[in-house]
Structure formats: structure tokens, C-alpha cells
Amino acid sequence: MVKEGLLYAKSHEWIEVDGKEGKVGISDYAQHLLGDIVFVELPEEDAEIDKEDSFGVVESVKAASDVYMPVTGKIIEINEELEDEPELLNKDAYKNFIMKIEILDESQLDDLLTKEQYEAYIETIEHE
């Protein structure tokens, strides 16, 4: 399931843009690939992280996967609920964001995928 109204990175993170801010999470496709999520390593508040750099780690029973910044930004809030209930990402990957960021370079949003583009992208990797 790909949600309308969000922008997606090819590394399977989403961002919901609200002015200069954005909520960031992982896509439903990503949580499905990972399986049962048991741990989320959250970033530090106030950290500035470049686009495509790792901001944390999502671990399932089987493996650890880095999660990447969709755009360059400053962390303004982290979703601490995930520390105790990482499985929320399995339950609803869109309702449960990982963090809120201040978007430092809005032009980078143009590089991200729309719902339709992301769906098409998933198609192509599924058939590889």
C-alpha cells in the first residue's frame, strides 16, 4: 500500500511536507520487506543530516537496515513511542512517523517520487 500525498525516496522512506517541516517514516513496502520490527535506533534531536545519509537503523528479527534522509534536514522531533513499541511500524507505517525534520533544502523535494512514481518503482524492483 502506497499512501497518497506523501513523497518517497528510492530507499523506501516517505516524507509528509508541511511548509518548511516534514514528517519522515518508512513505507509500508519497507516494513513488509523487513518483517517483524523489534528495534528502532532514533537520531539525536537537533542533528543536521545530509540527504541520503543514514539517520537511524530499523531492525527486524532477522536483520538491521539503515534508514536514510530523503532530503537534508535538521531533526526537530523524534517519535519516542517507537523506542518501546517498534512494532508500530509494522502496524501502520504511515501513521507512525520516525521523526520530524526542518527541511534545509526544499529544492531536493523535486528529486523524490510521487505515489504513482513510487508504485511504478516498486513494480520494477519486484520484477528484477
Binding site: G35, D36, V38, K62
Partner: protein, 367 residues
């Protein structure tokens, strides 16, 4: 070339998530590792383990030969008994760990790990010169299905007139008809639960698997993949070749001393192991519990407080249904005692841990 078991089509049909494991296309999971893990602990799970290797040893010297190959005492077995044992090289490292099935003194079945079949067969053949034995690698001729969990016997009993109760823990019968399929059935497994491993002709495997799966539905029998197989065996403190065991680690270091009988006939690696035991080990496998946050994975470095590397994680998980992050590591001997403070290097950060028992579950075998 990647291989498929006789159950490949079955896995696809039931939406198994197929991965490459030791050169085999097998399902890592169907519904999810957590659900499958819990099903095996509560009710039952069925696994495809057809990738395991089956090597038969036959001939006058079979008992002597197998006893010479492995570290455990094969001469102590009676007919239809099964024995777990490491098999060492001359340096005392572990070539493989295997199950020895004794038909009689002149016929044994050795069940070996999938990734080691060729290596094992070549190794065994190279050691056979002075023995009157014939070795046959029958791995492709057999499928193997593991039915594990507290409901395993009840499920399987519906399908056979053989009284399964008669097969005790670590025994087998080579003449069990399950439905229309002739099978070898042993009360063995790799989960810490009661259950069976069922060997069947390759061409009968899919039919047998479906038969058991259907008969188990009302007992909440679940299809279980390699993911749950690994979390279950790890939780029960059972070693995995390639993680806890390897060519350059001795079975004493891997804490398998119970399966190494030094006061008996000669076997390969004995001299080195006797010496190791007399001089004391330099490293040992221990369990640990992470105190800080994170999950220690296979291959991560284990350090002392000042960052000196003192070992390596062999397996680590946050176990399904728990919040505990635990693991097993091979560490320098001075860190082996329970409660010792150690650190695991996670993405360049040292996370505190303490040495703990390496079994995180009380096994529920029917003895």
C-alpha cells in the same frame, strides 16, 4: 548453481518468502518469524529441511569407522538410536556437526548440514582407506520434513498406525508408514521442543508435507521457515555450523565438551583436544545479555571496557515476544564467567553487556 528442494513449488504455493540459503532456495518465512516461532512453542510448526545431507555408511567396519570420525562415543549406541556429535579435523577444528543414526553395527546414516555435504563426503571418503566400509551420498534421494512442537505427536499419530510413543527421544524407526508414504522417523529436532524429523523419498516429500499440514490445521500447525528455525534453535542454546562452530574452532571452545568423549578409542582430532583440555582453553563460547540498547548481530566485535577486541558475536537476536536483546559470543577465556561485563561494538559504539547462560529457553523434550 542454486538448488531447490522437492518442496520448492509447495513454498511458492503458500507464499513463502524465498531466499538463498547455503546455495538452496528456501523460505525464510511465510506469515512472519514471530508468529511461526510462537506456533512451534505453543502448538506445532512444520519445516522443510530437505536440504540437509544424508550419507550412508555400510560394511563390516562401519561402527569402528564412524566412531573414528566423530568425537562422541558411537560404540555406546544401540540399534535405532541417534547420537549428536561434532566431527573434527586433525587440528581439532570442526568439519561439521551431525546426527548419527545406527541401524546396526554395519549400517549407519549420517545427517549433515546442507552447506557441508560435499566437504563432509570428501572428508569421510579420505578417511576410509583402512576400513571395510562403503559410503553413499543419498542427499538428493531424500526429502526431510521437521514437525516440531508440543502437538507434533498428536498431529502425526492421526496419519499412522505406528505407535509413535514407542520412539523415544533420540531414537528412530525406519519403518513408519505415514499415509501411503514409507518414512524414517526420529524423535529429534532443532527447536528445543518435542517433535520429529521425517525422512522420505524425494518424490514423496511434497505429498507427505501436504498431508501433515492438512492434518495439523485443527491443532494450529503453522508452516515455518528458516527464520523461525534459527530463532528457535538459538533460543534453545543449540549451535549452528558457520556461527558457533567452524573449521578453526574446537568443540571444547564451542562449549560442546559433553559431546566429546576423550577417554575412549582413537578418533580424529583427539590428540589436539586432549592437549587443549590439559593446558586449558584460550577462548570459549558464552551467552550474553545486552544492557544497553541495540541488537548484537553475527560477526560484531566483542570488546573490553577500554575497547580492546576480546571476541566476536556468533549469533544475536532480540528474541520474538521478548524485549531482551541476547546473543552468543566466542570470547577470550578470562571473560567466560557469568555476569562478567563485556561490550559489543554496534555501529562503532560500545554497548554494555553481561555474560549470561547461553540457553535462553528451557527445552521441553519428551525423555
Amino acid at each position: 548453481m542454486i538448488k531447490r528442494t522437492p518442496l520448492y513449488e509447495t513454498h511458492v504455493k503458500y507464499n513463502g518468502k524465498i531466499v538463498d540459503f547455503a546455495g538452496w532456495e528456501l523460505p525464510i518465512q511465510y506469515q512472519g518469524i514471530k508468529e511461526e516461532h510462537e506456533a512451534v512453542r505453543e502448538d506445532a510448526g512444520i519445516f522443510d529441511v530437505s536440504h540437509m545431507g544424508e550419507i550412508f555408511v555400510e560394511g563390516k567396519d562401519s561402527e569402528k569407522f564412524v566412531d573414528y570420525l566423530v568425537t562422541n562415543d558411537v560404540t555406546a549406541l544401540v540399534d535405532n538410536q541417534v547420537l549428536y556429535s561434532p566431527m573434527c579435523n586433525e587440528a581439532g577444528g570442526v568439519v561439521d556437526d551431525l546426527l548419527v543414526y545406527r541401524y546396526n553395527k554395519e549400517k549407519y546414516l549420517l545427517v549433515v548440514n546442507a552447506g557441508n555435504i560435499d566437504k563432509d563426503f570428501n572428508w569421510m571418503s579420505s578417511q576410509a582407506d583402512n576400513f571395510d566400509v562403503k559410503l553413499r551420498n543419498e542427499s538428493d534421494a531424500y526429502g526431510d520434513v521437521a514437525l516440531q512442537g508440543p502437538k507434533a505427536q498428536e498431529i502425526l499419530q492421526q496419519l499412522t498406525s505406528f505407535t509413535l510413543q514407542e520412539i523415544k527421544f533420540f531414537y528412530f524407526s525406519e519403518e513408519v508408514m505415514i499415509g501411503e508414504y514409507p518414512c524414517i522417523v526420529s524423535r529429534t529436532g532443532y527447536t528445543g521442543e518435542d517433535g520429529f524429523e521425517i525422512y522420505v523419498k524425494a518424490e514423496d516429500t511434497a505429498g507427505l508435507f501436504e498431508l501433515i499440514y492438512k492434518a495439523g490445521k485443527k491443532f494450529n500447525l503453522q508452516l515455518a521457515g528458516l527464520g523461525a528455525r534459527d530463532t528457535l534453535r538459538f533460543e534453545a542454546g543449540l549451535p549452528l555450523y558457520g556461527n558457533e562452530l567452524g573449521d578453526t574452532v574446537s568443540p571444547l571452545e564451542s562449549s560442546l565438551g559433553f559431546f566429546v568423549k576423550l577417554d575412549r578409542n582413537d578418533f580424529i582430532g583427539k590428540d589436539v583436544l586432549v592437549k587443549q583440555k590439559a593446558e586449558g582453553l584460550s577462548r570459549k563460547l558464552v551467552g550474553f545479555e545486552l544492557i544497553g540498547k541495540g541488537i548484537a548481530r553475527h560477526g560484531y566485535e566483542v570488546c573490553s571496557e577500554d575497547g580492546k577486541v576480546i571476541g566476536e558475536v556468533t549469533t544475536g537476536y532480540q528474541l520474538p515476544g521478548t524485549k531482551k536483546s541476547v546473543g552468543v559470543a566466542l570470547v577470550d577465556i578470562e571473560y567466560k564467567s557469568l555476569e562478567t561485563q563485556i561490550f559489543v561494538k554496534l555501529r562503532n559504539k560500545l554497548i554494555e553487556a553481561k555474560v549470561a547462560k547461553k540457553s535462553f529457553y528451557n527445552k521441553k523434550y519428551k525423555k
